[in-house]
């Protein structure tokens, strides 16, 4: 007797294309993600005609740990892709999900992840219409990877893109920065710390739709995920050929996020968010948008953090709370907790 034999886990056969896989699909994926398209069970999903221009976005999710305060890789995969579609100004409709499972991964954890995906999809009003499952040998994966692709439609008349910021426009954010990254870091092996911070992971399409209704002329929407606010602002500045000047004081930041960053030697502006958006709009629309945002559960702490400037060097600068000015640079390499 070798013990530990009874916990059901992913075996190579779950990806083999046979009955074991079929059962996995029925018992876990169809069960939690069910909708009229997914149940067609063909090579792909047959969907209705779309009414507008299409938007398509994809993201791979490889987060560790898989379960974190405020969500798990399943909800995150839905939120991330819904948000990327929403950041184009589009209404997300359909999601595809490709799972890469590591041999030995507990089935109950997988079910929990897929259940969260189902919940997140229903809340965001999107359907997971098609999927795929592959199993890789133990040691050739990391539990679960999920790649999601979203398709949405965008109404005529909207023109949103990272290249559309112009000097003089206002820069808004819908809430505190760094919550997701800190929640994740707090559970990393060798780094554990206790905090009440939970990930901000959320689907922003509802908020975006309210914002676009109030100000269809919004120029840029972007979710500051990997690389945090700093990367997102630099990206936009680069694409639009503008500078930016933001004020440290105006950036919503939870004290605990600030504390964790001090402790680890990280900058909250480099830390990932999963329920935040940066909006760049005409200055005259800023107040109207802020009040729409404040009225939405995901925008209660929305803030105007700065303005687009003219700058041939396309730099993002920040007036510090201390009274000086500094650049906000992209993240250099990977984020490594530092000692000095």
């Amino acid at each position: 007797m070798t013990g530990k034999t009874n916990k059901a886990c992913i075996e190579m056969a779950h990806g083999g294309g046979g009955r074991t896989m079929d059962r996995l699909i029925t018992d876990i994926f169809r069960k939690h993600l069910d909708n009229e398209y997914l149940s067609q069970a063909n090579d792909g999903a047959l969907l209705p005609k779309a009414s507008g221009r299409l938007v398509m976005a994809t993201d791979g999710h490889v987060i560790s740990p898989l379960f974190f305060p405020g969500g798990n890789i399943g909800s995150l995969a839905i939120h991330g892709t819904v948000n990327d579609v929403a950041m184009m100004g589009a209404t997300p409709l359909y999601i595809s999900a490709s799972f890469i499972l590591e041999e030995g991964f507990p089935l109950e954890d997988l079910e929990e992840i897929v259940r969260s995906m189902g919940d997140a999809a229903r809340q965001a009003n999107v359907s997971v219409v098609t999927g795929d499952t592959k199993v890789v040998e133990k040691g050739k994966g990391d539990g679960v990877f999920i790649s999601t692709t979203g398709v949405g439609v965008i109404e005529d008349g909207l023109a949103i893109g990272g290249d559309k910021a112009v000097p003089g426009q206002a820069i808004l954010i819908n809430g505190t920065v760094g919550d997701h990254g800190v929640a994740i870091l707090s559970k990393r092996e060798n780094l554990e710390f206790e905090t009440e911070i939970v990930s901000d992971s959320a689907a922003l399409n509802g908020l975006v739709s309210d914002m676009l209704a109030a100000a269809p002329s919004i120029s840029v929407l972007r979710d500051p995920t990997r690389g945090g606010l700093a990367a997102t602002l630099n990206e936009i500045a680069g694409q639009s050929g503008v500078g930016m000047l933001i004020e440290e004081e105006k950036i919503p930041l939870k004290p605990a996020v600030s504390g964790a960053c001090e402790l680890l030697g990280l900058d909250p502006l480099n830390i990932a968010n999963e329920g935040k958006l940066v909006c760049i709009c005409n200055a005259e629309d800023a107040d109207k948008l802020l009040s729409v945002m404040h009225a939405h559960p995901l925008g209660k702490e929305a803030s105007m953090i700065g303005a687009v400037t003219q700058d041939p060097n396309k730099m993002v600068r920040m007036t510090t709370m201390f009274g000086g000015t500094r650049m906000i640079d992209w993240l250099a390499g990977e984020q490594l907790p530092r000692i000095c």
Binding site: S186, F193, E194, T195, S258, G259, A260, L263, G265, R338
Partner: protein, 84 residues
């Protein structure tokens, strides 16, 4: 050199360990390098170790000096002359 932060001891653990807190963030650190650590003490934390206690009075005094620097330059000079 070296990133180090003042944090408050909120619990003592066994084996020379203590829990420190900074804005609700709690972390377990070694107190093997300091003497007589007590709950409530502020300590300077570096690479998972408390290096030294932080003195409340000295911090206050420094802040007072800073606040008055532009105004009371004489007094500042005198009070600092003694410190090193």
């Amino acid at each position: 050199m070296c990133l180090a932060l003042p944090a408050k001891i909120v619990a003592l653990e066994g084996e020379d360990m203590a829990v420190v807190a900074l804005e609700g963030v709690k972390k377990s650190v070694s107190i093997a390098l300091i003497e007589d650590a007590q709950v409530g003490d502020y300590v300077l934390v570096h690479v998972g170790y408390a290096l030294h206690k932080v003195s409340e009075e000295e911090a206050e005094r420094t802040l007072t000096i800073m606040a008055e620097a532009g105004v009371l330059t004489e007094e500042v000079r005198e009070s600092l002359g003694e410190a090193s």
